[in-house]
Symmetry: C2
Subunit: 186 residues, 2 copies
């Protein structure tokens, strides 16, 4: 059976989730699909385009809630966004890399801006706040996933009882951010 862009992406995610971003090579992907590396270039212009398409799929169709309470809405969106990143190995790194290409990256930023504006925040502040929030989520999640990878490889010790829970740390940082936004809204 001939391949489609979608089936190539399916194969790419299979390798990503089983072996990680570092082992996702064009030659390996091609082999897993039963073709030669050169054949992939009929479906995607280059590797960067393929990775961008993967990033797009990871964050596609994020729910854009409409409860009226901006804080709850934003919290829900961030949780959904973060959940998508965590659903794939190196998901945050993948999305962060694609993020540099098409600046806005559309999906999460625009919705965040809308939510903040609906809460009464001025346009330019809302853009800055949304950008900051996305950088925070991407950075924190990428670090969590990187540590998980290193730990699995034995390059990092197992977490001890004393050290901070990443989940709790994330929520604390998010709360801090939301407090800042609330202060700006007034």
């Amino acid at each position: 059976m001939r391949l489609t862009r979608d089936r190539v992406l399916d194969g790419a995610f299979a390798i990503l989730d089983e072996y990680g971003l570092g082992d996702l090579t064009m030659r390996r992907l091609a082999a897993s699909l039963g073709i030669r590396a050169g054949g992939l270039y009929w479906h995607f212009a280059d590797k960067q385009t393929l990775l961008a398409a993967m990033a797009d799929r990871v964050v596609a169709d994020l729910r854009s809630p409409e409860n009226g309470d901006w804080r709850t809405d934003l919290q829900g969106l961030v949780g959904d966004f973060r959940g998508r990143l965590l659903a794939h190995s190196d998901g945050a790194e993948l999305v962060a890399a694609g993020y540099a290409l098409h600046p806005g990256a559309g999906e999460p930023l625009d919705t965040m801006i809308k939510i903040l504006e609906s809460g009464g925040m001025e346009a330019e502040s809302a853009r800055a706040a949304g950008t900051a929030l996305i950088h925070y989520v991407l950075g924190h999640t990428a670090e969590v996933q990187a540590h998980g990878r290193l730990r699995a490889a034995g390059a990092l010790p197992e977490p001890e009882d004393g050290d901070p829970d990443p989940e709790a740390t994330f929520e604390l940082g998010l709360a801090l951010f939301l407090d800042g936004a609330a202060h700006r809204i007034g």
Copy 2:
């Protein structure tokens, strides 16, 4: 003359600043130093170790101000940190990559925590706040530098008059963050 670790690092920064992180290869670096690629492995265990040493040098000896006003101190530290990243091409990406290895990365995080605690913030909140702030600075700066690189390569249009100034956006996001911290301090 025989090489030292320091002179290898000098050569690495020369390539980084002139050609970018993507062109910083072991073979290219060796050639610029007048040796073969294999010779580099006497000075550094592998490329990752070399990059980590570069990242350490970028953020080495950050000033840790002590004015008493936590907000001014933190703003100064962040400005210094960000300045260091901007001083080298792809500086933010370099430091962010090294950041995943030794989690705390020492330098900026510990100082931030101290400043926040001196302002009266509880320990766990201070750690979360510092982590969030570093992710924000790294993420925002990496994006600014990536756009600069893409623009230089003609892959991104020149900035128009209407669109937001990255510097102003950064300051807005930082102010928002500081407001959140102030709220938590009470």
